[in-house]
């Protein structure tokens, strides 16, 4: 009797996918799509780019699946690929459209709560814009921590940086965000 793929563990799915079973990889994609899409969305700030980058991330993950080491959680490895795919998508988009600065029109698009209060929406837009002003290295650490839910150790493994660097980049990112959001935060 064949076990449904939905009941298999991540490692079992990965082993099957490495062996060429695409239906196993199909299940992995379903499981991690939300997480990957949100990480890439926070990295590139554009929903359309995020969709494109998420697809690219999963394709790259498939191509390099044999390089995944099971001693670390799958999502730490996958999120690193997602961050790189997001940055590549952002670079390609800026090169093609000649953008050297943030595209404000894309950032202000609020697809999640179109009927929310104006003040709340403006606040969210400012937050997204502030996150996009961080350097890619700081943004990656912040996104993985705040939106990916990774621990410091997992971020360190994922991005292949020392634990101290994770902490210092997070501190730096938070400090910059507090300065950028000075009108919104009640306490600085």
């Amino acid at each position: 009797m064949t076990i449904p793929v939905s009941l298999l563990t991540d490692q079992e799915l990965i082993n099957a996918a490495v062996g060429g079973e695409t239906h196993a990889y199909n299940e992995l994609v379903v499981r991690y799509r939300d997480g990957v899409v949100n990480v890439v969305y926070r990295m590139c700030g554009d929903p359309a780019l995020a969709e494109e980058a998420a697809q690219e991330a999963f394709i790259r993950a498939w191509q390099h699946l044999s390089g995944y080491h099971p001693e670390h959680p799958f999502r730490t490895w996958l999120y690193r690929i997602a961050v790189n795919a997001a940055l590549d998508a952002l670079r390609r988009d800026r090169r093609l459209t000649g953008l050297n600065e943030l595209d404000e029109e894309k950032l202000v698009e609020d697809t999640d709560d179109p009927e929310g209060s104006l003040e709340a929406r403006e606040r969210r837009q400012r937050v997204r814009k502030a996150v996009m002003t961080l350097s890619p290295a700081s943004r990656a650490v912040l996104v993985m921590r705040e939106y990916g839910g990774l621990s410091y150790a997992e971020i360190s493994t994922s991005l292949n940086i020392p634990l101290g660097t994770v902490m210092s980049r997070l501190n730096s990112a938070r400090s910059q965000l507090r300065q950028a959001l000075v009108g919104i935060l009640e306490v600085i």
């Binding site: 299940e27 697809t111 999640d112 410091y152 902490m167 938070r174 507090r178 935060l185 009640e186």
Partner: protein, 220 residues
């Protein structure tokens, strides 16, 4: 974590714990560090304010709801699997694309090769002047300039004149005489640079057209 920053000591009431507050908020400090930080926070208004600010920032960041991906997860996964199953482009297509991208490098290498041949042949010919007996042999063929470069130019111009004469373009062949001896090399160099410039500009134009086409596709 307590080994990471040695400048300040959270156990020292005089030092602030601001460098560790982010890690404390994230639950990433050891039990011992947590006790020291909490003891410090009881008496330090500055650090209390910092912690409150960090908490507000975290709330702000999380107030932005996650992006709702379009379409079902199954449809998205099917799209990924279809792309994975698509056969890779043939080798010759990938080779052509790589060659096109490397075109400026090839142009530069071609120009460098030509320059190197010119210089080396000139040096060789100058060197041959010092070989005993060689001068008599060369003198039998033609007056021998002492400069190897000029000799090379003269040999090239003789070759060019002979070629043009054989093509029955005698008048043009005779007019080559006023180009000797340095003029032929200069002409060849100019011709080569012109060809390379035309090829490079053509490559730039094709790159621009490709990017325009890609932008138009994206806008569609």
């Amino acid at each position: 974590m307590s080994d990471l920053i040695r400048k300040q000591d959270p156990a020292n009431p005089g030092d602030h714990v601001t460098p560790w507050l982010g890690a404390y908020l994230d639950g990433e400090v050891t039990a011992g560090m947590r006790e020291q930080i909490e003891a410090h926070l009881l008496n330090c208004v500055h650090c209390q304010t910092e912690l409150e600010s960090l908490e507000q920032l975290s709330d702000l960041l999380h107030a932005d709801p996650p992006l709702k991906p379009q379409g079902s997860d199954r449809a998205f996964a099917r799209k990924i699997v279809e792309q994975i199953r698509r056969p890779a482009r043939p080798f010759w297509q990938r080779f052509l694309q790589l060659s096109w991208r490397m075109a400026p490098l090839f142009l530069f290498v071609g120009w460098a090769f030509f320059q190197a041949v010119e210089w080396i042949s000139g040096l060789v010919l100058v060197g041959m002047n010092w070989v005993p007996g060689i001068e008599d042999s060369w003198q039998a063929m033609a007056p021998l300039p002492n400069d190897g470069g000029l000799l090379f130019s003269k040999l090239l111009s003789d070759l060019l004149r002979m070629s043009l004469s054989s093509l029955k373009i005698g008048e043009v062949a005779e007019s080559i005489a006023w180009l000797e001896p340095v003029g032929v090399m200069a002409l060849l160099n100019l011709a080569l640079l012109t060809i390379l410039a035309v090829l490079f500009v053509s490559w730039l134009a094709s790159l621009w057209a490709y990017q325009q086409a890609k932008t138009n596709l994206k806008e569609d």
